[in-house]
C-alpha cells in the first residue's frame, strides 16, 4: 500500500500525547456516534506503486490512441502537434503543485506567465482584455452570455450552427439561470443571418456567432449582426478557434465585444475531452464585468514591476452572492501550456500550422470529389468539412477495421477534420476505404 503520511506510528503517538489525547479515536470525539461509519469503506486494499502502475497500464492499453490510428475526428477537439518542450516545462513542480497565486511575492513566476497568457489571447483575438482562463470553450460561452445579460436585456440569440455541446451547455445555464435563449435554425450549414437580424430587438442582450462554425464552415454576415445588436445595446459574442486566428479575421476585426473559445489546440493533449481551457477576451469597457481571475501589472514598494491578481472585487470570495460569476479554480496549468506552446511555435509557426491544416483538408475534399463524393454543405471552410454518406456509423466501423479513426457522425454525413499531423498517405488511405476500395 502506498502512503504519503510521513510520521511513523511512534511519532504520531508522541504528537497525540503532546496535545493531551489518549487514542486516535479521540480525534473524532466531536462526531456523533449515529453518523459514524461503523465498518471499513468497501474499497480494495491499497496497492504498491508496482501494482498501481500495472493496473493503470492495463486500463490504458484498452484504448486505441491517435498515435496508433490516424484520427480524422475534430468537432471541438483536435489532434494538433504538441512540442516536447511543453510537457517538460509543465512538469516543473513549482508550477503544477502551486495553488492560485494568492501570495504575489512568492508567485511572481505564475503571475507573470498568466499576464503573458492574457497578452497572447489579446493578440490572437485583437481584443483589449482577457481573463486567466475558464473551464472550457463551452462554459466560457455560457459565462459570456451571463456577462451580456447582466443588465435589463435577457435574450441571447444563437444559431444552431455552433457546437452542439456548447449549445447544450447554454441551454442548461439558460433554464437554470438568468438569460433566455433563442435558437435560430441555420440553412445549408450556415447560420440564417436574415432570420437572426429579424430577432434582434431592445431585449437582446447578445448574439452569438461561432467562426468557423460546427461544420467547419466560415460564416458570413457577422458584421451586420454586430451592427444591429450594437444599435440595440447588446453584445456580439464570438466563439472562435485560436489556431484559425493565425489566418482568419480576428473577433475584434468583426466588431465582437467578447471572444471565447477552447484553447485545447494550443499545446494541450486530447485527454479524452479534458482538461482543456476556455479563453475569454473582451473589450476594455467590459473589464469590470468579466468573470474569473485577472492578473494586473503593478509595482512593489521599491517601484519594481510586479504582477498581482487584480479587480478581485468582481469575484466570489469578496463579492459573494453579488459576484459576476461563481468561478474560483480555472484551468491555469492548461493556460500555461497554451502560453508555452505559443512561445515555442511563434507567429509564423502558428500560421504555418493553420495553413497546413487547411491545405490537407482541401486536398482531402478534392480527392473525395474526384471519387464522386459530395459535400453536405458547400462553402469556404477552415480545416473541417462534412461529406455526404448514407451510413456514417457503418463507415466508421469499416475505417476502424482498417486502422483509422474516422470522423464525427452527422445525419447522412461525416464531419472530417485535418491537422498538420496528417500525412498524404493517411488521407489517401482514408479516402480509399471511404470509397469502398480495400474491402476484404
Amino acid at each position: 500500500m502506498m502512503k504519503y503520511t510521513p510520521n511513523p506510528p511512534q511519532v504520531a503517538e508522541e504528537m497525540l500525547r503532546s496535545i493531551g489525547l489518549n487514542s486516535f479515536d479521540d480525534l473524532f470525539a466531536d462526531i456523533p456516534e449515529e453518523v459514524k461509519l461503523k465498518r471499513e469503506l468497501d474499497l480494495p486494499a491499497g496497492l504498491s506503486e508496482i501494482e498501481v502502475r500495472r493496473e493503470l497500464i492495463n486500463k490504458a492499453r484498452k484504448n486505441i490512441t491517435v498515435d496508433e490510428y490516424p484520427c480524422f475526428l475534430g468537432a471541438g477537439a483536435y489532434d494538433h502537434f504538441v512540442p516536447a518542450a511543453v510537457d517538460q516545462i509543465l512538469l516543473r513542480s513549482e508550477f503544477y503543485t502551486a495553488y492560485t497565486p494568492y501570495q504575489p511575492e512568492i508567485s511572481q513566476g505564475i503571475l507573470q506567465s498568466i499576464f503573458e497568457y492574457q497578452t497572447m489571447i489579446c493578440q490572437l483575438t485583437g481584443l483589449e482584455v482577457s481573463n486567466a482562463s475558464m473551464y472550457d470553450g463551452g462554459t466560457a460561452l455560457a459565462e459570456a452570455c451571463q456577462v451580456a445579460s447582466s443588465g435589463k436585456a435577457k435574450k441571447i440569440i444563437v444559431p444552431d450552427t455552433i457546437h452542439p455541446e456548447n449549445l447544450a451547455i447554454l441551454k442548461t445555464y439558460a433554464w437554470s439561470g438568468k438569460f433566455s435563449l433563442e435558437v435560430v435554425p441555420g440553412q445549408n450549414g450556415f447560420m440564417d443571418v436574415e432570420a437572426m437580424l429579424g430577432r434582434i430587438d431592445k431585449d437582446t442582450a447578445g448574439v452569438i456567432v461561432q467562426q468557423p462554425n460546427f461544420y467547419g464552415l466560415l460564416e458570413s454576415g457577422i458584421e451586420k449582426l454586430g451592427e444591429k445588436v450594437h444599435q440595440n445595446k447588446g453584445l456580439l459574442i464570438m466563439s472562435v478557434d485560436p489556431i484559425s486566428l493565425a489566418l482568419l479575421k480576428s473577433p475584434a476585426e468583426y466588431g465582437a465585444d467578447i471572444a471565447v473559445g477552447d484553447g485545447q489546440v494550443l499545446g494541450n493533449n486530447l485527454s479524452f475531452g479534458g482538461p482543456y481551457l476556455g479563453f475569454f477576451a473582451a473589450t476594455e469597457k467590459l473589464l469590470r464585468k468579466i468573470p474569473g481571475r485577472i492578473v494586473g501589472q503593478s509595482v512593489d514598494s521599491e517601484g519594481k514591476r510586479a504582477f498581482v491578481l487584480t479587480l478581485q472585487a468582481r469575484e466570489q470570495h469578496i463579492r459573494r452572492e453579488k459576484a459576476s460569476s461563481n468561478i474560483c479554480s480555472n484551468q491555469a496549468l492548461c493556460a500555461l501550456a497554451a502560453t508555452i506552446y505559443l512561445s515555442l511555435i511563434g507567429p509564423k509557426g502558428l500560421k504555418d500550422i493553420a495553413v497546413r491544416s487547411h491545405q490537407m483538408a482541401v486536398y482531402a475534399k478534392n480527392e473525395l470529389i474526384k471519387k464522386g463524393f459530395k459535400l453536405k454543405y458547400e462553402g469556404p471552410f477552415f480545416r473541417e468539412f462534412a461529406v455526404k454518406m448514407d451510413n456514417p456509423r457503418e463507415m466508421n466501423r469499416r475505417l476502424l477495421q482498417h486502422g483509422i479513426i474516422g470522423g464525427y457522425e452527422l445525419k447522412g454525413a461525416m464531419l472530417l477534420a485535418f491537422t498538420e499531423k496528417r500525412t498524404k498517405d493517411e488521407i489517401d488511405k482514408l479516402i480509399a476505404v471511404l470509397g469502398g476500395e480495400n474491402d476484404e
Binding site: Y4, M15, S18, I19, V35, K36, E40, L41, L43, A45, G46, A60, R61, I64, T65, R92, S93, E94, F95, Y96, T97, Q103, P104, I106, Q112, I114, F115, E128, V129, Y135, G138, N166, T172, G177, L270, S271, F272, G274, P275, L277, G296, S298, D300, E302, R305, V308, T310, A313, H317, R319, R320, E321, I327, S329, N330, L333, S343, G346, G349, R397
Partner: protein
C-alpha cells in the same frame, strides 16, 4: 532580479519551428473577406530561450514540492508523482473524446469505477465526474436542487440558505443559478445556529448548502438535527466537499443526511492544483436525484461500458465532453494506491496534524475556537494587533521570509483577522515543529521589533505590491512601447 516578459525577449527570425515538407499542392481556398488583416503579434523566440524563460519563471513560484503550504480549505497535500505518470500514459492522454466506444473501453471503465469509489467514500448512490472544479460542482448540484423542485411543481422555493461561514462560491453559485441567498448565522461555538436555521427554513427555501467540517475546521455536531430541519421543511441538503479530507473512512456525508455532494479531486484526492487549476468537482446524489444528473452518465451493459445520453429529466450538459478526465485519472490512481486503510489513515493524520499545530500555536496566537478541530483551525493576530498593531497580513508576509507559504488569510469572514491553517496529513512532525518555531519567532518579533514584521517580506524577489494601484489603473496585458 526582475524577469523580462517573453515579448521583451522577442527577436524577429529567431523562432525556427518547422513542419514536415508539404506533400500536397493545394493552395488556400479561403476568400480574402475572411482573412485576417491585423498582423499577428506573438513573440518570436528560439526553443532554448523559451525553455529558459519558463524555467526562470518557475523559480519564482512556490509549490507543495517547495515546502510547507498550510493554505486553509485548500488541502495542499503532496501530489504523488505516480499520478502525473498515469495521466500521461498515451492510452489516456492521446484519445479523442468522440472515438467509438469500443476504442475507449479502458477510459470508460476507469470513469465507471471512479464513480463507484466516490459513491462509497461519500455515501451516495450516483456520481457525475463532469464538473471541472468545486464551484462548477456546486453549480451542478444547485441546478439539481432547482430541477428537483421544478419537477414537483414546487416553484415558490426561490431561496438557498448559506451559513455565514461558507466559502464565497456557495452564495455566488446560488445566485448564478437564480436563487436568492439567505444567510444563516453561526453561534458562539462557531457552528450553525439551530434557532436561526429554524427561523429561516420555510416553504420558500430550496435547500441549505453546508460544509462539514465547516470553514472553522469544526464538525457540525448537530448535523442530524440540521438535516431533519431542512428535510422536514421540504428542502434539500447540499454538501460542499472542500473539507472531506478530515473525515474519509470515519463518516460520510450521505450518512449525515446530505442529498447532494461535490468533491474536490484537487484537494481530497491529491491531484495537483496547477497554480489555479485544472481541478475537478464530481457531484454525487442520493438515488431519488439520480435522474437529474448531467448527461452523459456511464453505464455498464454486459461487459461493455457505454455513454448514456437518454435521460429525459437530466439538467443537461454542464461541460463539454466528460469533464477533466486527466484529473480523474490522477485521483483514481491515488485512491487505488491508498485503498480503504490509506484513506482512513489520511483523515487521522490530517486531524492529528491540525490539532498538533493548534495546540502548540495557542501559546503564541489567539485561537478563537480553541477546542478539538478537524483538518484545519483558525488563529488570528488579536494578541499582536492589540499590542503592536501587527495585522494578519503582516504575519503572512513575514512567513514568506521564513520560507513558508502563508495560511489562508482574512477568511472565514466571521473571524476578524483570520489565519486559516490546514497542515494536511502529508507533513512530518519536523516540518510542523519548524513552522511552530517560525510562528513563535514572528510573535516575538511582533513584540520586540514590530517594524521588521510590518515591512515584511524582506527576502522575496519583490516586496509588498501596490494592489490598490493595480485595480485603479488596470494594466492587464503587455503593449509594445508602454
Amino acid at each position: 532580479m526582475m524577469s523580462k516578459l517573453i515579448f521583451e525577449k522577442s527577436v524577429p527570425g529567431s523562432n525556427t519551428f518547422s513542419l514536415p515538407s508539404c506533400e500536397v499542392q493545394e493552395t488556400l481556398e479561403i476568400p480574402a473577406d475572411f482573412m485576417r488583416n491585423e498582423e499577428l503579434k506573438l513573440p518570436e523566440v528560439s526553443e532554448v530561450e523559451a525553455v529558459r524563460h519558463f524555467t526562470e519563471l518557475s523559480k519564482k513560484a512556490y509549490g507543495v514540492d517547495s515546502g510547507f503550504y498550510p493554505l486553509g480549505s485548500c488541502t495542499m497535500k503532496y501530489n504523488p508523482k505516480v499520478g502525473e505518470w498515469a495521466a500521461r500514459l498515451p492510452g489516456f492522454a492521446n484519445i479523442h473524446p468522440y472515438q467509438p466506444e469500443e476504442t475507449v473501453q479502458g477510459a470508460l471503465e476507469l470513469i465507471y469505477e471512479m464513480e463507484k469509489m466516490c459513491c462509497e467514500i461519500a455515501g451516495m448512490d450516483r456520481f457525475t465526474l463532469q464538473p471541472a472544479a468545486g464551484a462548477h460542482g456546486e453549480m451542478t448540484g444547485v441546478m439539481i436542487i432547482k430541477a428537483y423542485h421544478k419537477k414537483r411543481g414546487d416553484e415558490k422555493r426561490t431561496k438557498i440558505l448559506v451559513p455565514d461561514s461558507a466559502h464565497g462560491t456557495n452564495p455566488a453559485t446560488a445566485n448564478v443559478v437564480g436563487f436568492d441567498v439567505v444567510e444563516v448565522k453561526s453561534n458562539s461555538r462557531g457552528l450553525v445556529d439551530i434557532e436561526d436555521l429554524k427561523a429561516k427554513m420555510n416553504d420558500e427555501v430550496a435547500g441549505l448548502m453546508l460544509t462539514n467540517p465547516n470553514t472553522l475546521g469544526l464538525f457540525e455536531e448537530e448535523i442530524v438535527t440540521i438535516a431533519s430541519i431542512v428535510h422536514e421543511g421540504g428542502g434539500l441538503l447540499y454538501y460542499d466537499g472542500a473539507n472531506l479530507n478530515a473525515i474519509m473512512g470515519v463518516c460520510r456525508p450521505g450518512d449525515m443526511g446530505f442529498d447532494i455532494v461535490h468533491l474536490n479531486l484537487h484537494k481530497t484526492f491529491a491531484t495537483p492544483h496547477g497554480g489555479g487549476g485544472p481541478g475537478a468537482g464530481p457531484v454525487g446524489v442520493k438515488a431519488h436525484l439520480a435522474e437529474f444528473l448531467p448527461v452523459p452518465v456511464i453505464e455498464k451493459k454486459g461487459d461493455k461500458y457505454v455513454l448514456d445520453y437518454d435521460r429525459p429529466m437530466s439538467i443537461g450538459k454542464v461541460k463539454n465532453f466528460y469533464g477533466n478526465f486527466g484529473v480523474v485519472v490522477k485521483a483514481y490512481t491515488y485512491i487505488k494506491a491508498l485503498g480503504r486503510d490509506g484513506l482512513k489513515d489520511v483523515a487521522y493524520n490530517a486531524v492529528l496534524n491540525a490539532n498538533y499545530l493548534r495546540h502548540h500555536l495557542s501559546k503564541y496566537y489567539h485561537i478563537p475556537y480553541n477546542r478539538l478541530c478537524k483538518h484545519e483551525f483558525i488563529a488570528n493576530s488579536k494578541f499582536q494587533l492589540d499590542k503592536s498593531g501587527i495585522t494578519t497580513m503582516d504575519i503572512a508576509k513575514r512567513l514568506l521570509d521564513y520560507g513558508y507559504h502563508p495560511p489562508t488569510v482574512y477568511f472565514p469572514l466571521i473571524v476578524n483577522e483570520a489565519l486559516m491553517i490546514e497542515p494536511t496529513e502529508t507533513e512530518s512532525k519536523e516540518r510542523l515543529d519548524g513552522f511552530i518555531k517560525a510562528m513563535a519567532e514572528i510573535a516575538r518579533e511582533a513584540e520586540e521589533e514590530p517594524e521588521k514584521v510590518k515591512n515584511a517580506p524582506h527576502t522575496t524577489v519583490v516586496k509588498r505590491i501596490d494592489e490598490v494601484g493595480a485595480a485603479r489603473n488596470p494594466i492587464v496585458k503587455w503593449e509594445a512601447g508602454k
